[in-house]
Symmetry: C2
Subunit: 166 residues, 2 copies
């Protein structure tokens, strides 16, 4: 509390100087919610042998396969530095295969194995259980949350693409 009026320390409208934490709390809320969500998934995904990021990768491949590492990375917002080791673990687990594209040896094609395909059904159960365990937010609230997040993400992606050329 007791945030004083140090309105001349930085050259911004006094309105902002007095509330230096509110925006951070939205960021912190996103950070916290994301972490807690991952924790919620952990015990459900563990029996399947997946972590949450691995589950995301599998979902992307259930939607479309084969895909390249780059294509998957674009879908998930991750780069090869993160994906390559993750995909190697999924390959070691027998969920997918990685092979160079014969038509373009720079690309690596990801393909699901039978085991990877088979995981799709139990994964649906996970999604349902998450829904059930979900804190009591109304469908309208969930919808609103999803809608605003989509807008936020679109804006953040723009900034992420344009600003680095600063």
């Amino acid at each position: 509390m007791t945030t004083k009026q140090t309105s001349d320390v930085i050259d911004v409208p006094a309105d902002f100087a007095g509330i230096p934490k509110l925006d951070d709390q939205i960021c912190f809320a996103l950070y916290s919610a994301s972490g807690l969500m991952t924790k919620l998934y952990r015990p459900l995904l563990e029996p399947l042998g997946l972590t949450y990021p691995q589950y995301l990768a599998m979902m992307a491949l259930w939607e479309q396969a084969p895909r390249t590492v780059g294509g998957l990375g674009e879908a998930l917002g991750l780069d090869s530095a993160t994906l390559t080791p993750l995909l190697k673990r999924l390959e070691a687990g027998g969920f997918l295969t990685r092979r160079r594209d014969a038509a373009d040896e720079r690309r690596v094609l990801l393909e699901l194995t039978a085991k990877g395909q088979a995981l799709r059904e139990p994964a649906k159960g996970v999604a349902v259980q998450i829904l059930c365990q979900f804190p009591r937010l109304s469908a309208a609230e969930l919808d609103g949350l999803h809608h605003i997040l989509a807008k936020l993400i679109a804006g953040l992606r723009e900034t992420d693409v344009e600003a680095p050329a600063d």
Copy 2:
């Protein structure tokens, strides 16, 4: 392939079986938004010598110090396995000190150094710049987002505390 009507594979209402991705997209949206947000902070925090989690720790200490590692962990939702190395880096950077509490040698007290205190003002500038770079969401939307996230987090924390005794 070709997801058929296997409505008896899992014992849930058929309504859910058909929409196995919607809830995940909220989770994925949280995950993505959180990551993009951290990326937005990075170039602003780098000149200060902080990462985003370190910035969160400093914010908690600007609000209240001295604090114990456990107290900080409760505020941030992190445990000592994450905090101990992070705090050692902040100590190595000269931002804070760690010392055993003489009254209870189990506890470690965190105290800001002059350098750590001094960082508070430029950190306010970071918060302002984040607000400015922020994608065009109305104040009402930001408010709504924050409100729903708070509700979500409260529910997730409950689940996180109660469910593990399963």
